[in-house]
Subunit: 587 residues, 2 copies
Amino acid sequence: MTVTRAEVRSGAYYDSVVLMQLQRSLAALPGVLDAGVVMGTDANKAVLAQSGLLTPEIQAALADDLVIVIRAEGDVAAQAALAAQAALDQVDELLTRRRRGVEQEYRPRSLESADQMMPDAQWVLISVPGRYAAGVARQSLRLGKNVFLYSDNVSLDDEVALKQMAAEKGLLVMGPDCGTAIVSGVGLGFANGVRRGPIGVVAAAGTGLQQVTSRIHQLGSGITHALGTGGRDLSEAVGAVTAHQGLDLLSRDPETRVIVIISKPPAPQVADELLRAARSAGKPVVVDFIGYSPPARQVDNLHFATTLDEAADLAVQLATSPPNPQSEFRIPNSIDLARFAPGQRHLRGLFSGGTLAYEALLILQDYLPAVYSNAPLDKDYRLANSMVSQAHTIVDLGEHEFTVGRLHPMLDNDLRIRRLQQEAGDPEVAVILLDVVLGYGAHPDPASELAPAIAEARAKAEEAGRYLEVVAIVVGTDEDPQDMDAQVQQLEEAGARVETSNEAAVRYVGRLLQALDQAAGATHLGSASHLKSVDLTVLHQPLAAINVGLESFTESLMAQGAPVIQVDWQPPAGGNERLMAILERMR
Amino acid sequence: MTVTRAEVRSGAYYDSVVLMQLQRSLAALPGVLDAGVVMGTDANKAVLAQSGLLTPEIQAALADDLVIVIRAEGDVAAQAALAAQAALDQVDELLTRRRRGVEQEYRPRSLESADQMMPDAQWVLISVPGRYAAGVARQSLRLGKNVFLYSDNVSLDDEVALKQMAAEKGLLVMGPDCGTAIVSGVGLGFANGVRRGPIGVVAAAGTGLQQVTSRIHQLGSGITHALGTGGRDLSEAVGAVTAHQGLDLLSRDPETRVIVIISKPPAPQVADELLRAARSAGKPVVVDFIGYSPPARQVDNLHFATTLDEAADLAVQLATSPPNPQSEFRIPNSIDLARFAPGQRHLRGLFSGGTLAYEALLILQDYLPAVYSNAPLDKDYRLANSMVSQAHTIVDLGEHEFTVGRLHPMLDNDLRIRRLQQEAGDPEVAVILLDVVLGYGAHPDPASELAPAIAEARAKAEEAGRYLEVVAIVVGTDEDPQDMDAQVQQLEEAGARVETSNEAAVRYVGRLLQALDQAAGATHLGSASHLKSVDLTVLHQPLAAINVGLESFTESLMAQGAPVIQVDWQPPAGGNERLMAILERMR
């Protein structure tokens, strides 16, 4: 024989972890077959119905009523009923025993009282059901607190409004649906125990943050702070407000030497702005937009990872042996931008090597919006006439239209020298880039022809009041028949900057043109620029928090030695949403 | 006064470098304003016409006629005419002086005679005009020679036919339009002087090969062989025949410890087959499909670079400190595939961490054609019912449909344990993958519940005559409240393989499933499998070559100390194409 007994306690709110633990304890009692302990929401009633536990009194319960239901068995109905009743009788004791886990003499019933009890708390942790969470978050921001918003089912509109409000006040809202963070060594929500160290993390991916911080710890390094943003933060609608704030904080935090950004691939515009901000961080930034194909392993101070494991690895490497700042940073120090005349902003690349030209076009995508070519990556940027450059141009002089009836440009410099003079006469040209390919089969002494032409072009530009930067990539070795050192020397004496790596040359040119563009005011401003900076004390003071919701979070903070106040939260207006809205408007 | 004088020498073929040098020497003579020295093709006539040098006698010249034209000036016409004539009179002497550069007593007029003079020559270098080049290449293959085909303007049909013919004979055709190669330390075409070393290169990109080999030399390492393929080799039509042959040769070459593959992004099917072959190379392979976004930095023995500079860097690093073979190679040695029952081939991943599930789906793309999920990368692979797996499946148990009315799977293992038993009972399932996330906020002892369930699932499978591989990713640290070591030990004692990196776990699973698939004969064969292997002696004997075309190539080989015969090549049948075709058919 089985018997089902239910009890409804009105207006008694408990969090889901507490209820689950109570349910388990009840189900383990003698004679009990099944137990349900839930708040009386429609969703929970549906789950109880599936298990055959929905009695008429539960059907009538309200959202903020605590519902307890027991199915028990016995040889006769009376015995089963006795077992069920015995279980129900133990509910209070089990709840009290549980509550003893959180030792706190007085539990404030409101956030305001909690704030008075612990005015130094910079954080409020919120894990109440989603329909109440935005209200609690708003109240927290009004009190000047930063918010760790664990709750999900918060609307997008609420998220945007909360983050806008936070940004205006210089406060952080991590979440909604933010499962994890580590602030000043204290884990919030789900978080691993990791030692403190030189690496800061901004993550829109919960277990992503946990995997990366755990791996960093396993590799012997540690974390300054790991800030969660919630999964929707990097969407078009939210515009990565929290990620920008987090990145800005970690950029300014002197203890953070390397920053890691983790997210599923963001909206393209959002990714673009965030990467732009990351490039100004002044320290190495490891980016793992999980599944996003990065343009390169490294662009200046940005290091792209394609897996979480690799992001951790790279961050630890960078923290251990920081890269040479010269190769990392963005504006070439050796160049005085003021030497260029105001109209000078374009690049003309004159290549003899087809693959070098192709790679140059690819790398320049990291720096310039569009580069024209006779062999472009995208046909929209095909030169109307290969003989005439437009804006930024890379010409491959080894293409058919240039080689009919003449030798390959690696053998014959005439055409290239003529084009060099033509480009040097254009007042919009700031930089000329060319390759000099040495080796067997090539011209026996290309610099003897190119160097005087470079010197002449630079002199003419100077006469016209301009400064012409000439960058040459010398492809060759000390075993080549041409005497590479002498070739480099001739080119340098003519005033050219010489590199032996195509990538290094092209990235130098890209950075220079970007700097010229920015100096001309043509730069776009990252979306972060209108936000009020979050005060660094949020990371530098020992963490103290008010917890509204899951008691287990209070237990975790206590276990980590962080001061915390648990609010004895109850749904406002007894869970009546219309009344809640009225109360909210009255504030 | 200016005068233009022309001379046409019928049936006198010279290569374009020789002609260009003669033209320059003539233009430098006193009184000479301009000089043209070309073969009498229509294209060349058009170029002469542009410079106003097209006289009636040149207009009448044939393709294999040598045309020399001089424009000279003088105070009076007679003086100009004298200067022009004086220049023309020096043509023979200038040609003879030039020819002395190549010291060779007897110049054979045919490939056959050259072969008799130097039967050990394994290579023929061909740089005659494109319309003749396929014929010379075919003749070379018939003589059992490998071909370095510098000439461009060879038709795609000819390329396919030549490479098919070469593959059947176990010979190489590098090109057409192959500008560069290094074989056994000797540079062919345009090539830099690089020391010999442990790195082999296969390249479909001319200056790409030069940049990478030069950088490798600059970084202190060196090259075994660098094989060019010609730019069209990796197209759909050609199917990368030469690249496959080159990769196969370098795989078998014991001196080559690291292989580098360079190309513009190939046709997708071709890339797929080439990467498949590269994964079987048995040594690290650095791949730079310039501008192609790689799936990861590393997939087993494949290391992806995004720039030429990086490809060189990576190759030198890998040659200096070879990676741990365990992490490199493809089939997990620890697994005895025979333990699995014949029908077992599917994966079931049961994740509590959303980001970990997402990253697993991404990484598995490197190994499996399709993985179903309730949160798939591609909606075509959405599970019809989240509760029921199909084929390879990754389930994110943190998704909404699983968490309504219950705790997050990081806190509550019940649902996962039930699903684990369900999957273990499926006779198609070979591997179960699950994450165990430790830390604050998570379940206090997840292994105490999961380990017995894993042991039970494995035992049940064994009873049914199957082997069940269970792989667990433990995300956590030694500072977590759960005692990570004890968690790992419990799981291992239950028979699970434990990793602390999601990537490592997922790649292990991917390799295992791929191995099972291959054992089941479901593998696709790379296109290389039907080719006859090229004999390694082509790389191991000192290079000796016959050169047909540009004399400068013979000079380069001589300068490098390689035995070479220059053929005194003339267009067959006086350049008459119809006659050439008849001669060709008569062979």
